[in-house]
Every structure is written in C-alpha cells, then in structure tokens.
Amino acid sequence: MPPISRGFRGRRPTSDAASRLPPGQYETRDFPVLSAGPTPRTSLDKWDFTLRSTAGKSARWSWDEFQKLPREKITTDIHCVTKWSKFGTSWEGVSIDTLLAEAAKQGVEPSPYVMARSDGGYTTNVPLADLAAGKAWIAFIYDGAPLHPEHGGPARLLVPHLYFWKSAKWVRELRMMDENTPGFWESLGYHIYGDPWREQRYAGDE
C-alpha cells in the first residue's frame, strides 16, 4: 500500500471516464504537444512514404498517390505516457493493412518488427502485429481538417492502443526488422512495447 497523501482528496473522474482511463492516466480536453525538438515542416510535393523490407525491397507513395488510397475514419481514445488521455479523438487515414497489401504486390515481405522513421530523425519500434489487423493507420486528417504540423502533420502514425509516443509524428517510412531494435524514446529509458493498460511507461515496467 502506497503512503496516503495527507489532505489529498483529488478530482475523481466520472465512472464512465474512470473505466476508459488506463492506470495512472487523467483525462484532458486539450491536445497537448510533446516533441523533443523543433517541428519539421515538409512541403507536400517533397513528401513521400516508403514501406521497406529487410531484403531491401520497397514500396513508395507520393502525397498524391497516398491520397488516392482507400481511407478510413477512426474515432479512438489516445493515451500519452506523460499521463494525459484524450477521449474520442477523430482521425482519417490509410490503414497499415492497405499499405502492407499494396507493398506485398511489389515484393515487400513482412518481418516481425517495424521501425517507424520520421522527418527530424525521430524513430520508434513497433511489432508488426500491432500495426496490422486494423490496429494502426497513417493519419493525415484530425477533427475534419489537415493534421497540423505541431501534431505530426502532414501525416503521422496512429497506433492508439499503445502509448502515444509510438504514434510517430511526421512519419515517412516503415522499415521491417527481424529484431526488436529500440527507437528514440525506447533507447532513453522508455518501455520497449508501451501498453497503457499494463502501465508500461519505462524500461523495467512489467
């Protein structure tokens, strides 16, 4: 039993909110921004997206080609490792399943792990199983409008069942990996997997 904080009452979430909040999280109505450096700004005519296999095969889409892919609407709760959760965020994007299927036609073979790479040098590692089967998207619309650069626009990875640092902003590439190599925050003390429901915030958490 942790020590009682004398005089602390707290602000209880409603029972509905409480059931949607992973352990240690609180609800915010804002959309806070967390980035380790300046916000990169890539013009759409220079933007492309690449899916790359370990064997060096790749599939590439320009912005226009990407926009022609079938898109999905997603409404989801998101959970940031810095403790805030935001309920019912709405996005539009291309399912990773769609990209994997398109890439397979060009000989891009799947591997068990993926490294997402972004403009500005950010990286994060995710098992392929957590990106496939309707669990993740490349999102470019937030709340009905083009995704703002501060929040990862023109396009970010959206993996809402993991802590939000896995949803790499400004994402440009998914690279297959045979090993689960840690990305940026995963090399700096954060958890290799990052399941909010198991409160996997930091290296060493179960």
Partner: protein, 241 residues
Amino acid sequence: MDVVAETPRTRTVILDVPDWPGHRAGQHVDVRLTAEDGYQTERSYSIASPPEERNLSLTVERLEEGEVSPYLTEELRAGDKLEIRGPIGGYFVWDISTGGPLLLIAGGSGIVPLMAMLRHRDIAIRSSTARHQTPARLLYSSRRWDEIIYREELEKLTRTDDTLEVMHTLTREQPEGWTGFRRRIDRMMLAEVAWPASEQPRVFVCGPTPLVESAAASLVDLGHLPSLVKTERFGPTGSTS
C-alpha cells in the same frame, strides 16, 4: 521535506530521498498522490536541483484548474511524505561535459529544468577551468516582474560569473524604468540574444507550447541545426503564457 515560496504562484518542494540514484540536469520525476480511499493520480515535474545537491528540489507552478499542483503548492508542508519515481528522460539533459555555448530559452515555469542546468554548470565551472569553454545565456519570458522564478538567484549568479548572461522579457507588465524586452520571444529577439548558428550552441527551450513552437522554429530559421535544439513543451496548443 520542506516547502519554499518562489513567486505568488510557485513553490519549491525540497525532498530528502533515501536511495536516490542520482540524476542529470533537465530530467524529471513522476509524483503520485494517494487519497485515503486509495484513489491515485500522477503528474510529472522537472527537477530544479543540480545532480551535486543532496536533496531533490521540484519547483511547481499552481495551475488553477490543476488536480495535483494546488495540492503541492498549498496543502503540502514540511514533514509530509511524497511518492516519487525517477529520474525520467534522457534527451532534454545537459552536463558540463556536453560543452557549450549553452543557450537556454524559458517561458514561465519552463525555467525549472534549465535552472538545474545553470546550477550544475555553476558548481562545475567553479571547480574546474571549464568556465570559458561553456559560456551560457538565458532568455527568460515572464508575465510580470514578481512572476520571475529564481530572480534573485539568477541575479546573484550573473554577478559572480562573467560568462553567464541573463536576459528577461516581461510580456504583460513592466516595472517603472524597465529596460529589458517587453514582448513575446520572437525571431528578432533571438537573433539579438543567441550566438550565431556557426558557433553551434547547445539550445534548450522549455515553456508553454506556443512559445516553444515559435522559438524553436525561429532558431531553425536562423540556421541552428534542429538536432542541437532540444525542446520540452507543456500545455495545449494555442494557450497563452
């Protein structure tokens, strides 16, 4: 545990942490509060004390709508216990061995992790010849004179160290005879204050999101390498400082 007033809205909580593993300037801790019925909530706070100090200090700004900061700034008192976890964060950190020049840009309580860097630097240069290799500049944006956190300590540091410069901007209200900046941090101010990009200063920017976004973008515009500009943002997009 002790609590010290800094400004009308900020308090420093000084903790005696048994078995503290040590930290680097710029890191933070998670604070967890537990109510009598077992309800818990957690928030992160930057460490204000340098690694060299035995006690751990957190400077906390009271947010009117906050759940934890009003408790830490108003309810907590000497002798209370606090559950913390850390240190956390390995990117927004600076050690004397990282070198300089060191350029710090702060907005409001964003000064806290940067103060840990200045305190660490002050101790380190006094015990070595590193002083002239690591000049430091701080540009600090506050609303009013009495909201400048660590104001007297910053004055003292600059009096005793000619390789440290501290520049304030007061965005809401300035005392009579104020000669410092009186507007939000902008590109022109950064061009005036920052070392040229060619000197490759190590830059740390911490404050409310709009301030950090605008300062970081201006620095990149001025030619600073994005990889040398490290940022920590708090609060929502579009908030005012």
